[in-house]
């Protein structure tokens, strides 16, 4: 630990101001990027994107909601690769129960998501296995169960549920979830605690944060949130098949990183990461698809844009070691 003069602090004044300007830039840059990309794609698709706004953004609800759960997890330095399987299982539960009662189905879906989150939490928190390993295992495990449950036929939701579908409803539900999440993250100790755990778990514990309990709860919460996202998913799709939700975890990861989220979490995360990232991801994806390029070309461009964006937006300064 290098130890230095007290007087140097004063001379650092300007540097600090510059640093805080930089960090403001970092926050704003993805938003600017989003706007630019949106404008570019509108030009390239002759305004079709903005004309069919509701259609263009129809994908964003599930991404936004489930990203929020993972955002909490990543804020405290964890990872979760089981999100896709959580979405799949919860979708199956919701579809299966929608015949009886819609409210029951939603509650059960959220509970199913929470239950998988609980399993993740158990192995991660209680057994101290890296979150990365645990969630890759549970991703596999529950994907198997999803396949088993859909072997003979996809699980279809009843009309009770799918008839509820309307864009305003989806927008409202998504907005409610996000606003609640935002308020908790920004205006209660919840957010500060998560950031503290991400920035230094041991120190957070010594400052009185119940780190294990918080970590445990967040995994359960993220599962529950994705369980709720499954409700939106089922509203839109109407059924759950063997690959419902597959690759969702990668989508979320890409979205959050595009939104400027530092992958190791900590103090520099910003709730805006969730929103900007999800929209950026959807605009990019949809925009390229709408341009009518062939799939490999689309993907080639997507890969390159993604790397360029991450290169520009990612906060690499706070990462001393990049793994």
């Amino acid at each position: 630990m290098p130890t230095k003069t007290v007087t140097a602090a004063e001379t650092d004044d300007e540097a600090m101001k510059k640093a805080s300007r930089m960090s403001l830039m970092r926050t704003l840059l993805p938003i600017v990027g989003l706007v630019i990309i949106f404008v570019i794609f509108n030009i390239l698709t002759h305004g079709q994107m903005i004309q069919g706004l509701a259609l263009t953004f129809s994908d964003v609800y599930v991404t936004l909601i489930s990203s929020m759960g993972v955002f909490f997890i990543m804020t405290m330095g964890g990872l979760d690769f089981s999100q896709g399987s959580i979405l799949g299982i919860a979708s199956i539960v919701i579809c299966a129960l929608s015949k009886y009662n819609v409210a029951l189905a939603v509650i059960a879906g959220v509970a199913a998501g929470a239950a998988i989150g609980l399993i993740n939490a158990f192995f991660y928190v209680k057994r101290k296995i890296k979150s990365f390993i645990v969630t890759i295992c549970t991703m596999f495990l529950f994907r198997g169960i999803i396949k088993y449950l859909t072997s003979n036929t996809p699980v279809a939701a009843s009309a009770n549920l799918t008839n509820l579908y309307s864009v305003p409803l989806l927008v409202t539900l998504t907005a409610i979830v996000l606003i609640i999440g935002f308020i908790f993250f920004r205006f209660t100790r919840f957010g500060t605690d998560l950031k503290a755990i991400g920035a230094g778990e041991t120190a957070a514990k010594f400052a009185g944060i119940k780190t294990d309990k918080t970590k445990f709860l967040i995994y359960v919460l993220a599962g529950a949130i994705t369980g709720f996202a499954a409700f939106i998913n089922v509203l839109k799709v109407g059924s759950a098949t063997y690959n419902s939700g597959s690759m969702l975890e990668t989508k979320i990861l890409i979205a959050l990183v595009l939104g400027g989220m530092p992958i190791s979490g900590g103090a520099k995360v910003n709730f805006l990461n969730v929103v900007v990232g999800s929209f950026l991801y959807v605009v990019l994806n949809r925009g390229l698809q709408m341009m009518g390029l062939t799939t490999p070309t689309q993907q080639l461009i997507q890969g390159i844009i993604f790397l360029v964006f991450v290169f520009i937006f990612a906060d690499r300064e706070s990462l001393t070691v990049i793994k």
């Binding site: 890759i136 072997s151 992958i263 080639l300």
Partner: protein
Amino acid sequence: MDATAKPAAKKKFTGKPAGYGMLVIFIFVAWLIFKILSPSNFGSPSQMMTYFNAGLMAATGAVGFYFVMVMGMFDFSIGANIMLSAIVGCVFANKLVQSNTGLGYVGFVIGCIVTGALVGLCNGLFYVKLHIPSMIVTTGLALIYEALGSYFAGGQLQTLPSNVRGLGKMPGNLIVAAMAFIIAYILLNYTKLGTYTYAIGSDEFVAKNMGINVDLYKVLAFVISGAFFGIEAILTISFGSSMEAQTGMLSMSRNFVPTMGCFFGLAFRKYGIPLPAIFLGEFVINIIFYGFIALGAPTAIQDVITGLALLLIVAITTKVRKGEVVK
């Protein structure tokens, strides 16, 4: 730092015998359970050989990937790499097989390994030069590799010529896997690369101060890992005989089995047998998998078993240390 970190070295039943002992017990218990449940169509010596063979492909990739994982990095382009390498190797094999039969193998093997290594090089360079977390950079690159694979394959099934398929079955696959294992073993234990791999994994800063060219060795680890996935591609396409270009991140479904093999390696690292543990770990999972098949269980169970078995084995071998920070 805290000087009270750990009590002095204590002697207990550790090291290689303990590790091998544990693995042999896993193998035996798995075998025994299914042998009892399904004596007629499970667990004969030749069948055990088949189960072992089934794990070879992923294990071969995993031993290379171990270098990357130990350094604390990750790779999401494994599947794309295997796909791309297999396609390129296959194209080479088809081109060369017409002119001369012997060259078919040469073109195939070199095509796969070189492509794999190049993909690894690309991963490594982008990671090191762009300073983006490896998990992210390889996700972006996987999209690009998939696109390239698709351009190469041009919508056609890439089928390996029938006279170049010897590496897909006994003893060809065993020889390839054994060679891969030996190379990895030597690299890890008998070259400075192995030492540096662990050094970088332990503390990059200190390693850098010790004069280790950290960036170089990170790139090297990716190249090695890539080349081993090239070898996995050889075994995979030889076994199945063809490869199709996949897009839309579908190739990522191939990521996880080798990754899990690697988890075994990491879990048994403390016993000093990471690489053998990868092979034996895959063996255990395959015993269980074929055991369930013998019982007539649906295949969906495969993913469940792989996930569960791995989770439990990692849980058993992980010692819960209080106050330890695990991310």
